[in-house]
Symmetry: C2
Subunit: 590 residues, 2 copies
């Protein structure tokens, strides 16, 4: 019996005094670490390298990263954005095995070149050597003492909207922890921090890598991101990062890519939050920037927090300027042309191009027809003078007549219809492309999102061009941007452009509202339908006329064949036409 | 001590006599099930409904399914293809909550309408009611006695090439078993059967649903598929199904969709294999068909195995005919037009269109320029006579002159270059689009894959059109198809078309080989690069000239901006340009 009591006694003692419990050692270590965090992290300087890589340009991106690291002031760890060595998004370049191999050669050279500096985390793709699973990982490689020491893998792989990461990547299977000096850093990549159970309306993933990093002892979380700009997104990012930092009581260091790659514009605005959830550093928006985030910096000290302007007009303007500049330059061009109609759309696109590339690199082409009013020509000329861009005038009346003659036979006795309007738009498209071909200029298209949604545009006509600058900007926002622009210094967009009724001038006395509802109404219906995924019934509950709403939705469906062949357009809303809009053409959905 | 020996004795007995082992019960049940399989499955008749749904057409697809079920002879279970009620692929229609809701209304109506018949499995999307995860499941719903009794979910979600299923769907979490009469059926959907460890060169997924179904007692596997056609794929499918059936010693019933939906053509050829891996039934290729698969049918009895022709020319021809017919009809049109140049490409496209829609629904337009030889006009006319299609002649010389006059100023003193060639192609594009607009005809583009790869085509010119019929057929295969076609009865493609050197006739005495390598060489390089993902070094190891290979690869990269705006093209190879080709435009990858 004494043996029995002895066992009971041991049992009680075992649980009564947790310092004897096998798990207590870990717990104690954690407490010490927590205390140490406060000191170590205070002493840790992380360089956030907010760079503008070109997709696929391994040599150029290596130089960009090396230059930035060399320019960075003293740091303990430097961090690039997601897949920085490849440029985000590399898309199907990732399927060329050769491409990923060569990127590792570039990475090893980079490691050797920067061997004398503190460690650097560089984003790139990593082959999955296992027999099973998708071919790559989305990783961050740690360069230290001239070597690629190890990698950290992404866990949550966004596959929605413009993102296709499940197409290429296998997820990490465990928390990605970096021990650096005495600090324990959790390494996360972009989406990894976007599945918080308290912050997300609906969680898309079953795991939360941030929770797992914290459980594994992370004293701070570093995030390599490539998060495309949409209006208002930075506020959302900062609210979420603040919430995560506060909730887990650890600092967050967030590095975002900057620059335009095809339809996506990355706004940068890398930032850091202290363990109280206070913003302690923010890089500039829409430009390259290197900041040293250091949570020793008191929350009130705003020195490292770049000023920014979160007004939608300002955000969109800067996004389109950057997106246009990068698209043109990264395609290997320096100058652009566009048709100037005297309308608001081509006016704002010309202004964006002049800002992006310099007015000397912008050619505005006026192509009057018999239906073009003299006011339109005057407005276009005034705009060009305001901007200081070059102009050229090419009439289309004679070419129109030559088509009429050739088609007189087949079209005999048939009434005029949209066919003749489209011919005009396509003559203009052909002239613009001829100038583009002859002089090596990128043609910019000037259609807005409202038009592209309902098909109020001519395929192979005004839709022709290499980049659709404002194809994700609704018409009412085009007006808001124009008014905002005129308040930034001097009048750019002529007042008459702002005040006349919009018209395509493809027949006499035509206005857009002949065939479309007022743009404020149209834009509200489109936003409900496209962005909020509302059904026809939900839209009708706003009191709109049923026949009108049905017409708009039918127009959206019927324009799918045009959008399928549209130029890449710069994305600024949560749902843009383009790589994130994947609708069937041959279908009967309504 | 006696207690100790007693324990040892029990231990030995426990392992010595496995009938006492807790796992032995399961094993015994399995053996009984295996014996039962042989009887039950022999008695089971499964109707494979190989139908051609239209994407999004819930009412039409319901009618199609109901009609097929009513027409089917006696059966114990009827099975549609994957997502048959929605049409595959529904793409972003799935993101309209409204669309999925309405499909369930349609499903419930269908259940009521078919209440008097044996159970039916219908493919559609199912909302994921959990708080976490992607919004939908890719499911098969069991309709029985007027009700939607339950659903079976897809486990493996293809997200590569043209497939985007991770964008929409959450995977099943357990084997999907249907007990029907006394039989235990494993229900799988498309990709679920494509991860076999012995058959796949590299497994993309960590689980094998077929193994799990077998482990869960499945006595047969039913598969609802929507597997797009590519050359030679049916042989691959049948080899894999035979292997699975043999390996697991159970029959497989495979139902595939048929028909064209945008760029994808589904070839049907639904089939069944007995437990010995013998093909016991195969539906016809490229047409709707309903077959009753019954493994009681002896393997040697070929009555239910549709004859088929696996020659690549025959397969591609039938795919393009079906894809063209369905695209035109599902877009709501009945007739088409195309430019006839007298060359091989427009000739074969005219022949495909005439077969698909009837010659009375095809208009060939000849648009000679000063560079067009009289032989070309004769060849085009002869082809049109052979096919019995209508023709029209529209000269472009006068329109060319009107452009020349308008551009004389800006182009003064500059040499002629590709600009002037593109103007001609765009005049033709404008004339064809004018006829398309005025008469409600779908314009077919006629460029082949070799041209589209290297950019030997004019954007907004000969690339204009609603459907690119042969844009996934390499030039050398176009020739093979033309020769094959002429052997099917009478000469369709004039011999002179087959024998002259290919030319775009955009300047005097031009031939394609002025600027491109011979097509056999070009096509071999392209196949290695595009389909086999070979690097430049691997291609060079074939002995090709380095400068020539570099030029080809550079041309492929530089044509990306054109392909981005290309019409949907019918996919026939493993890697087509289009929805499964996602390359950046602004990049520096070579």
């Amino acid at each position: 019996m004494s043996v029995f009591f002895f066992l009971i006694l041991i049992f009680i003692l075992y649980f009564k005094y947790p310092f004897n419990h096998p798990f207590s050692l870990q717990k104690e270590t954690k407490e010490i670490n927590a205390a140490r965090t406060f000191i170590d992290i205070l002493a840790m300087k992380i360089a956030l390298l907010q760079l503008d890589p070109t997709v696929g340009d391994l040599a150029g991106n290596s130089l960009l990263i090396a230059g930035a690291v060399r320019r960075a002031p003293e740091f303990d760890l430097a961090v690039t954005s997601e897949l920085a060595l490849l440029g985000y998004p590399p898309r199907d370049l990732l399927l060329n095995a050769d491409f990923v191999e060569r990127s590792w050669d570039a990475l090893r050279s980079l490691a050797q070149e920067l061997a004398d500096l503190p460690p650097i985390l560089v984003g790139l793709a990593e082959p999955n050597r296992s027999e099973v699973g998708r071919p790559l990982f989305n990783s961050a490689a740690l360069l230290r003492r001239g070597r690629v020491e190890r990698t950290f893998k992404k866990t949550l792989l966004p596959t929605y909207d413009v993102f296709d990461e499940d197409r290429y990547f296998e997820p990490a299977s465990e928390p990605q922890i970096l021990e650096l000096a005495d600090a324990i850093l959790g390494i996360s990549i972009c989406e990894d921090i976007w599945n918080d159970r308290d912050f997300c309306r609906r969680r898309r993933y079953h795991t939360d890598p941030v929770e797992e990093l914290v459980a594994a002892g992370a004293q701070a979380v570093v995030n390599l991101s490539a998060s495309p700009f949409t209006v208002g997104k930075q506020k959302h990012r900062e609210a979420m990062l603040a919430e995560l930092a506060r909730k887990h009581k650890i600092p967050f260091f967030y590095v975002n890519q900057v620059g335009g790659n095809d339809d996506l514009v990355f706004d940068g605005r890398s930032c850091a939050f202290d363990r109280g959830g206070r913003l302690v550093a923010r890089a500039q928006g829409f430009v390259e920037d290197i900041i040293i985030a250091d949570s020793a910096c008191p929350a009130g000290g705003l020195a490292a927090i770049a000023r920014d302007d979160f007004a939608p007009e300002s955000e969109i303007w800067r996004a389109l300027v950057l997106g246009t500049r990068d698209y043109v330059h990264k395609c290997g061009f320096s100058a652009v042309l566009l048709g100037l109609s005297g309308g608001i759309d081509s006016s704002i696109v010309a202004a964006i191009a002049a800002q992006a590339l310099g007015p000397q690199n912008v050619l505005g082409v006026l192509m009057p027809s018999p239906y073009t009013s003299s006011a339109s020509v005057q407005d276009a000329s005034e705009l060009a003078r305001n901007l200081g861009i070059k102009t050229m005038v090419l009439g289309i009346a004679d070419i129109m007549k030559s088509y009429d003659r050739e088609l007189a036979g087949p079209f005999r006795n048939l009434p005029k219809d949209v066919t003749e309007e489209n011919i005009q738009a396509r003559i203009r498209g052909n002239l613009l492309m001829a100038l583009s071909n002859k002089f090596g200029l990128v043609l910019l298209t000037t259609g807005n999102k409202s038009e592209l949604a309902v098909g109020y545009c001519t395929i192979y006509g005004d839709m022709s061009g290499g980049l659709a600058v404002i194809s994700d900007v609704p018409k009412s926002m085009v007006y808001r941007m124009a008014r905002w622009l005129n308040l930034q210094g001097r009048e750019i967009i002529p007042a008459s452009v702002l005040h006349k009724a919009p018209t395509a001038e493809l027949r006499f006395n035509q206005t857009d509202q002949d065939s479309l509802p007022a743009y404020e109404v149209l834009d509200d219906i489109l936003e409900r339908y496209l962005q909020q995924h509302q059904s026809k019934e939900e839209i009708l509950s706003q009191g709109y006329d049923e026949a009108m709403v049905e017409k708009v939705l039918r127009l959206v469906k019927n324009a799918e064949f045009k959008r399928r062949q549209a130029a890449p357009g710069l994305k600024v809303t949560d749902r843009a036409f383009g790589s994130g809009w994947r609708m069937p053409v041959a279908c009967r959905a309504w």
